[in-house]
Amino acid sequence: MPKMIFVERDGTRREVDAPLGLSVLEVAHKHGVDIEGACEGSLACSTCHVIVDPAWYGRLAKATEDEEDMLDLAFGLQATSRLGCQIVMTPALDGLVVKLPAATRNAGK
């Protein structure tokens, strides 16, 4: 099974199983990684914001304009920021590394 690595806010690297077809958000929830995902992957918030390792960023399918609109609202946006709910595991992403941002903004709060 493919693996992926979450770099937690304190720098800890957690390698977890990442089943094909699951999103990074779903993988995180499956393993209790602290990503909120308030809208449950419906592209209505930016609380599953992750910072993709620059070495992996170019290998992801490009973000849609809807995702970019939500990223506009993300706190601490960086050049390789994505929404975890929009990255779906494929064999090519085996070993993917993403970092959790320092904070998230829940527009509904």
Binding site: P54, E65, E68, D69, D72, L73, F75, L77, Q78, A79, R105
Partner: protein, 375 residues
């Protein structure tokens, strides 16, 4: 008083003032107070204004970030784009020697953050040599900043050709359009611009407000200059001054509707002024914005001319630099000697300039130019 300094600032159009007034006292709600009717009322007015600003330059309202003016917009565009891309490989930031001080200083300040400022010269006509730009772009470049119309000479850069080269090189193109917006047709899609800065008080709107166009397709990302509450897509936190925003929107609406009429009248006034002046003068720079005349009076000193015409408001250079004794950086970049620069006046004709203003100004300056300069 005869006011011919419309590049320094323009009078607020009475229609703009009328549109603004209710939003100071009667409708004073905070446009970010979404919980109550007064807040939403102000938010609606701000959004309507944003739509007018966007329409003036062919943009989508969501592309428009409200700021305090073109200086802030220029800082946010240049420093924001550089800082957002700081982790990337591109370090070079290109601009022209004739740009507004706030652009030049923003670019120079980024040297301290490990970026590489590259300031290109212009020709005697004030125009950028495209081959120079091509050469400069051989080094991977993050951003190029070129103003649409120069604030001292009215010279209009060839943005269409510049945009082609910049995009081919994969860089962002920022343009300070403070002097061009609302006066010349400007569309962010043609030529394609990444970032563009607008000022309220250069287009008959209020002072203290401006806008930055930030392209969303494809997305241009910036790091904000200020930390705060996430307003304006997080790019420019702080409460939006609703009265000023409404004023800028109304100024843009009027400019879009009346631009053609205004510019034809201003071009005729410019021709009339040059014809009535009757003393030998040289117009500095290539033809550009008709309302901005950089006029050299050979053998005279501009400061003497201004002193001899106390009822006439004209300037020696841009308002931000005219208090300096140093000659204008724009004119010297165009190859004028310090003496020629010191013999140059900027005459700015605007929407509210009348033919009688023009006639009176021409005769005052002609009389003053015949007074021999003090030895």
């Amino acid at each position: 008083m005869i006011y011919l300094d419309n590049q320094a600032t323009t009078p607020t159009d009475p229609r703009v003032l009328d549109a603004m007034l209710p939003w100071f006292a009667r409708d004073f709600g905070n446009p970010h107070s979404a919980e109550h009717a007064m807040g939403r009322h102000a938010a609606d007015a701000v959004e309507a204004a944003r739509a007018e600003i966007a329409a003036l330059i062919g943009a989508d309202p969501r592309d428009i970030v409200l700021t305090s003016g073109a200086t802030e917009s220029n800082n946010l565009a240049i420093k924001g784009a550089a800082r957002f891309a700081a982790a990337g490989p591109r370090r070079r930031i290109i601009t022209l020697a004739t740009e507004h001080k706030c652009v030049l200083e923003s670019v120079r300040d980024l040297a301290a953050e490990n970026f590489e400022p590259c300031i290109l010269p212009v020709g005697r006509d004030g125009l950028l040599d495209l081959d120079r730009l091509k050469d400069a772009l051989r080094t991977p470049t993050l951003l190029v900043s070129v103003m649409a119309v120069n604030n001292e000479t009215g010279v209009r850069q060839n943005l269409a050709a510049i945009a082609g080269l910049v995009h081919e090189a994969g860089a962002l193109l920022h343009s300070d359009i403070a002097q061009a917006a609302g006066k010349l047709k400007f569309d962010v899609e043609n030529p394609r611009i990444s970032l563009a800065s607008i000022s309220g008080h250069k287009i008959y709107g209020p002072k203290g407000i401006g806008a930055l166009y930030v392209r969303r397709r494809p997305r241009v990302r910036l790091s904000p200059l200020f930390s705060g509450g996430g307003q304006e897509r997080g790019l420019r936190p702080g409460t939006i001054p609703a009265p000023l925003a409404v004023g800028l929107g109304e100024a843009c609406r009027i400019a879009a509707a009346e631009m053609g009429e205004d510019e034809a009248r201003i071009a005729a006034l410019r021709a009339r002024f040059l014809e009535r002046l009757g003393v030998p003068v040289v117009v500095n720079g290539a033809a550009g914005l008709p309302g901005c005349l950089s006029l050299r009076f050979p053998g005279a000193r501009a400061l003497d001319l201004i002193a001899a015409c106390p009822t006439l408001c004209v300037s020696t250079g841009s308002a931000c630099t005219s208090a300096d004794i140093a000659p204008s950086h724009v004119l010297t970049a165009m190859g004028l000697s310090a003496a020629d620069a010191a013999a140059t006046l900027r005459v700015g004709i605007g929407r509210f300039t009348s033919p009688s203003d023009i006639d009176a100004a021409a005769s005052l300056l002609a009389a003053a130019a015949h007074i021999p300069a003090e030895a």
